[in-house]
């Protein structure tokens, strides 16, 4: 059995780990609330934009010749892997990295062999996870997660849209964790470009005046909806990250509490054993003197 002092040091060290994990849990909980608020604030805009687009596509078919909707033969693929900058959040980052690789290997294996599949990494962890594997990596702006606003994410979305229209990439896919609730993240694979316009006609037909023209509005709105889609993916991933970290830290704190309980028991047993030993020695010493 380990000595008393050894057990005591272990208890202290587990205890301080527990304090750290429980503090991290609190921090994540606070950040999660903020991230969730951002999603809620963005939602009305996204829903409305979608509605207007729906109304428009009722009235026009011009969506199909939009430069962002061109279906080209897939020769150059870009996979955008959205992860976090920091670790300690369970399988959050590993899932995205695995998924990004499996998409490349399963769907585009021949292109991958020719080196025509590129990865754009957002967040330090996806870069760390994918580097050193002989893949075409482009490192994105990791500082974007420091403060997620629409203005800050727009240039990046525009860059991707530009890469598509100039023909640098024929298909762009986003891989990220969608936020469902604090404990559940849904690993999502989403085609960003070419844009998929929902041509399902809605039943409500309002007789709108379109200014200046339907086609012009369509042309203006599609880039907007793409930027929103990109922004939403980042917001979702950010909220999911904090949710995942909160859950992971909660489990770590629970484990530490359990471990401390066990160590305490060991410690008390060892202490009792040494006391019993001492008494035995004294008694047997006294016996010896008597004799």
């Amino acid at each position: 059995m380990a000595s008393l002092k050894e057990i005591r040091t272990r208890i202290t060290s587990v205890n301080s780990t527990k304090q750290i994990t429980s503090a991290m849990k609190m921090v994540s909980a606070a950040k999660l609330r903020k991230a969730q608020d951002a999603i809620v604030r963005m939602r009305p805009y996204a829903i409305k934009l979608h509605e207007i687009l729906g109304n428009l596509s009722n009235a026009t078919d011009s969506a199909l010749d939009n430069p962002y909707a061109v279906q080209r033969e897939a020769k150059n693929i870009l996979i955008v892997a959205i992860t976090s900058n920091k670790g300690l959040c369970g399988a959050f980052n590993a899932n995205v990295i695995k998924k990004a690789q499996s998409i490349a290997a399963e769907k585009y294996s021949d292109l991958l062999a020719k080196g025509k599949v590129s990865f754009l990494t957002l967040g330090k962890k996806s870069y760390d996870g994918l580097k050193g594997k002989g893949l075409n990596l482009i490192q994105g702006n990791n500082a974007i997660f420091d403060k997620l606003t629409f203005e800050r994410t727009t240039p990046l979305a525009e860059e991707l849209m530009n890469d598509f229209t100039t023909g640098k990439f024929d298909t762009i896919i986003l891989v990220y964790n969608e936020f469902k609730n604090a404990a559940v993240q849904i690993l999502t694979e989403e085609q960003f470009l070419p844009v998929q316009i929902n041509t399902g006609k809605s039943k409500i037909v309002n007789d709108y005046i379109f200014e200046p023209t339907k086609d012009y509005i369509m042309k203006e709105l599609i880039p907007k909806s793409l930027k929103i889609q990109f922004y939403k993916a980042l917001l979702d991933s950010n909220a999911a990250e904090h949710g995942a970290r909160m859950t992971a830290m909660h489990k770590a704190t629970d484990n530490a509490t359990e471990l401390i309980k066990e160590l305490r028991l060991h410690y008390n047993k060892a202490r009792q054993a040494s006391i019993t030993n001492e008494i035995l020695e004294i008694v047997s010493g006294a016996e010896a003197l008597k004799g």
């Binding site: 207007i52 428009l56 200014e211 200046p212």
Partner: protein, 79 residues
């Protein structure tokens, strides 16, 4: 009529208005009560909202889109 002005980050205005002036892509136009349903894109400029009691609010925008339907106005903007 009721007007809501939304950006992707937040709602910046919500309330009753008597007159709304927006910078349409083809030139500025005004919306009064019972305007016909319209969807229009907006260019760079200022949105002016006159509420009851002649209270005026104005918002600088870069681009946007407006939808008017049954005395409900929704403006989606980027600043």
């Amino acid at each position: 009529m009721f007007i809501e002005i939304l950006t992707p980050d937040k709602k910046i205005f919500e309330g009753e208005a008597e007159l709304v002036q927006v910078p349409g892509s083809n030139g500025s136009f005004e919306i009064l009560n019972n305007h016909a349903p319209i969807i229009s894109t907006l260019g760079e400029g200022k949105i002016k909202v006159v509420s009851e009691g002649k209270k005026e609010d104005s918002f600088q925008i870069k681009s946007g889109v407006i939808e008017v339907l049954k005395n409900k106005i929704i403006v989606l903007i980027e600043t």
